[in-house]
């Protein structure tokens, strides 16, 4: 086993992540403005910006889904109970005692089990909830006439959309906070900027990368 600096976030994934950051921030700000939580924007322009950002995010997600499945990266997001307890205990207790994070990043699992479970929930439930309700909200006039209580149906759609938005807001808070835990904020953000992170490699993995994907290995300082 050797700790090597490996490119774990390829260029597309980083672009995806940071575009998503910008779009989600725009969506949150405009969306909560539309909802009436704050009054820093006019309703009309807020709706336009929200719609455009939402459509851009959907396009990005279509590309990302395509990328996840063609590259096999989707496997990174399969949840697993293995090690979940240790990670949870670390955040609840160990972290206060200065203990080490129990999860060691390996090549095929760049997320710890808690992270993977969270992303699984986000990707399979919360994000689909927000984009499906968002599309229904946007296209209300195409289906409104074919349901019996259109105003009530729209009310349900709108409230599910809003609830999903609040859940995502909570995720963002915890997500950003957890960057400060462990290696520290800068160390945690850096891989998403440069693409490289320290990963425990088996001898086979190291040999494979050296032979077949040499660009993913940062030359060791010796």
């Amino acid at each position: 086993m050797a700790k090597r600096c490996v490119k774990v976030y390829p260029r597309f994934e980083r672009l995806w992540h940071w575009s998503q950051v910008v779009l989600i921030v725009v969506l949150m700000f405009t969306g909560f403005g539309i909802n009436g939580l704050h009054h820093t924007l006019h309703f009309g322009p807020a709706v336009m910006l929200h719609t455009i950002a939402a459509l851009a995010l959907l396009v990005l997600w279509i590309f990302a889904t395509f990328w996840l499945f063609t590259t096999g990266t989707w496997r990174q997001f399969i949840p697993s109970m293995e090690g979940m307890m240790q990670v949870a205990l670390f955040y609840a207790w160990g972290v206060f005692q200065g203990k080490k994070h129990p999860y060691k990043k390996v090549l095929l699992r760049k997320h710890n089990p808690l992270q993977a479970a969270t992303y699984f929930g986000l990707k399979w439930f919360v994000f689909p909830a927000i984009w499906s309700t968002g599309l229904l909200y946007l296209t209300y006039n195409w289906w409104g006439a074919s349901v019996s209580e259109p105003s009530f149906a729209l009310w349900v759609v709108a409230n599910l959309h809003l609830l999903s938005a609040y859940v995502i807001a909570a995720f963002v808070i915890v997500h950003v906070y957890l960057l400060t835990v462990g290696h520290g904020f800068r160390a945690h953000v850096r891989p998403m900027v440069t693409g490289y992170d320290e990963v425990e490699l088996t001898a086979e993995e190291e040999a494979y990368l050296a032979a077949d994907e040499p660009w993913r290995l940062k030359p060791q300082k010796s």
Binding site: N35, F96, Y166, A169, I173
Partner: protein, 560 residues
């Protein structure tokens, strides 16, 4: 010809008897000189006839009916057509409710009723000499007033109390026209030779002055529309479309599209926008602009999404009584009859219009008033059907009575949220039989007319007798509401109601049932639950941070 002489005589007598109509207003009796030209400019017509060259019209006319006689010698069917229109009949059988409405029948929240007050009210009749509402309008073919609609000389008018006749020679000082101006002697030959298609001033001389003065009644029809700026009315402005009324209210055989009793709230029967003036039977915005009037961009598409619930007028008429002419918003008849310290009828002018004009706020003849300019409309679901509380209809005096009820249902597909002028009134009713009463207010020579005698008992009894409706002899005053659909004074697109004026807490459509309005209620249960979720996340994070600081560990600091 015998009839002509008779009507001319009748007109003269009525003019003599009538005296000043706005008796309570302090006016200096005067005879004005005629206007130089019409108050609105119309596009040059495409007529192939110059009426000033017609020998028949180059004569001394001594009465309105004489001019009509000359008109119908060529326009053989015109008189018959007009006589079948609501402008002449003042009667309208509602196709949905079956109620018989029209000016000759209804009670309103303004001057009340025509019956019993004929020569004053019928001064705006599109005919000559209708002096008894219990009779149909005069049936002689010369009884139609062609000039009131077709005069383009600008100096034709009608005497305010002349049952439709114009002021002619020897105008008695103090006589007023139907617009409240000092009267002048009308030159009938000049008027007859000027005829053309109606301009805004022709329709406006009656419709802008409903309820006894400029913009008193409708709120969206005032003298500001003679020559409006673009921001007052984008269609009628000479800088905009310079539309005449009949550009939208298209006529066929002297029957006009567009009714206030049976409004077409929508016109979804065609998918192609029609050009102005193109044949259609209704005068809606959608008739020309279609149901998807906004451009096919992301904003336009969202705006088009509104047209199934919101009438065009709701956004595009941000306020009525624009352009510097106020409208009456409140009229309390119950306080009428007060005299000043000299025993003269009390008159107060406590409202200053934006042009500086002082408007009356109390008249001994009429009671207390409130006025409004740039008034934000009242909004309600409306399918176009209006039901009136007629003289014989039971009312519930324990709460405000709707003089007219607007019908609408959010789920019927044809109702839209419409803007209205909500007129608030207090008017007389029969306290025993519980119905609104007809009042005899105008009658300079009767001893029962309220404006002459200030005695409600007599005025109501005479009004009820004229209307032929049962009256117990006991009266009181009840709060009333009356609703006037707003559809004129369309502002340019950039001055339309902004999204946030409705999509906000306490917005314009607050409390409107049957429609989901984003942005109006961020503190609903979902909003509260969402806030709790976010607060829980924040609290968790803060607690975690606090413990980390307290424990003196950043956590996993072996890696720095």
């Amino acid at each position: 010809m015998k009839y002509l002489v008779k009507t001319a005589l009748a007109a003269g007598i009525i003019a003599l008897l009538s005296g000043p109509v706005f008796a309570s207003e302090e006016a200096t009796p005067a005879v004005a000189s005629p206007p130089e030209g019409p108050r609105s400019i119309t596009a040059p017509g495409e007529s192939t006839a110059d009426h000033s060259k017609f020998k028949k019209l180059q004569q001394e006319f001594t009465s309105g009916p004489e001019v009509t006689q000359a008109c119908i010698s060529c326009h053989t069917e015109a008189s018959d057509q007009v006589m079948h229109s609501i402008h002449f009949k003042w009667e309208f059988e509602h196709p949905e409710t079956g109620q018989v409405l029209g000016k000759s029948k209804v009670i309103n929240a303004f001057c009340g009723n025509v019956v019993g007050n004929e020569a004053r009210c019928t001064s705006c009749h599109a005919g000559y000499g209708w002096t008894d509402m219990n009779q149909p309008p005069p049936q002689q073919e010369t009884a139609v007033d062609c000039l009131v609609c077709h005069d383009r000389s600008g100096q034709y008018t009608k005497t305010a109390t002349g049952a439709g006749h114009p002021p002619l020679q020897n105008v008695k000082p103090g006589t007023k026209t139907i617009t409240g101006a000092d009267a002048w002697p009308v030159d009938l030959a000049k008027a007859a030779q000027s005829v053309g298609l109606p301009g805004r001033d022709n329709c406006g001389s009656c419709h802008f002055y409903g309820g006894g003065g400029d913009n008193v009644k409708h709120g969206d029809l005032s003298s500001a529309l003679y020559m409006p700026s673009r921001d007052v009315d984008v269609h009628m402005s000479p800088d905009g479309g310079n539309f005449t009324c009949s550009t939208c209210h298209v006529s066929e055989k002297h029957q006009w599209s567009g009714s206030r009793y049976a409004v077409n709230a929508v016109d979804p029967h065609h998918d192609k926008p029609l050009k102005p003036g193109e044949r259609r039977d209704v005068a809606t915005c959608e008739s020309c602009h279609s149901e998807t009037p906004h451009p096919a961009n992301i904003m336009g598409m969202k705006l088009n999404d509104h047209t199934d619930k919101v009438a065009c007028q709701t956004c595009h008429i941000p306020a009525f009584a624009r352009g510097g002419v106020a409208t009456k918003t409140f009229w309390d008849w119950s306080t009428a009859g007060k005299m000043d310290e000299n025993g003269k009828p009390l008159v107060l002018h406590d409202y200053t219009q934006s042009d500086g004009q002082e408007l009356h706020t109390y008249l001994a003849t009429k009671g207390d008033f409130e006025w409004g300019e740039d008034v934000k409309p009242y909004y309600a679901w409306f399918d176009g059907q209006v039901r009136y509380t007629l003289g014989g209809d039971k009312i519930d005096p324990s709460k405000p009575v709707d003089v007219n009820q607007i019908k609408g249902d959010p789920n019927d597909g044809s109702s839209r949220i419409w803007p209205f002028k909500k007129m608030i009134g207090k008017q007389a009713y029969d306290t025993k039989l519980d119905h609104l009463v007809y009042t005899h207010v105008w009658g300079p020579t009767t001893d029962t007319a309220f404006w002459t005698n200030y005695d409600w008992g007599k005025a109501i009894e005479a009004g009820m007798k004229a209307a032929g409706v049962e009256y117990s002899g006991e009266f009181g005053f009840v709060d009333t509401h009356m609703y006037w659909p707003i559809t004129h004074m369309v502002a340019p697109a950039d001055e339309a109601v902004k999204c946030g004026m409705c999509h906000s807490e306490n917005g314009r459509l607050e409390g409107m049932a049957g429609v989901f309005l984003p942005g109006t209620d961020s503190m609903n249960w979902t909003g509260i639950l969402g806030r709790l979720i976010v607060l829980a996340a924040l609290a968790g994070v803060l607690l975690h941070t606090a413990i980390r600081i307290f424990a003196g560990k950043k956590g996993d600091d072996t890696h720095g």
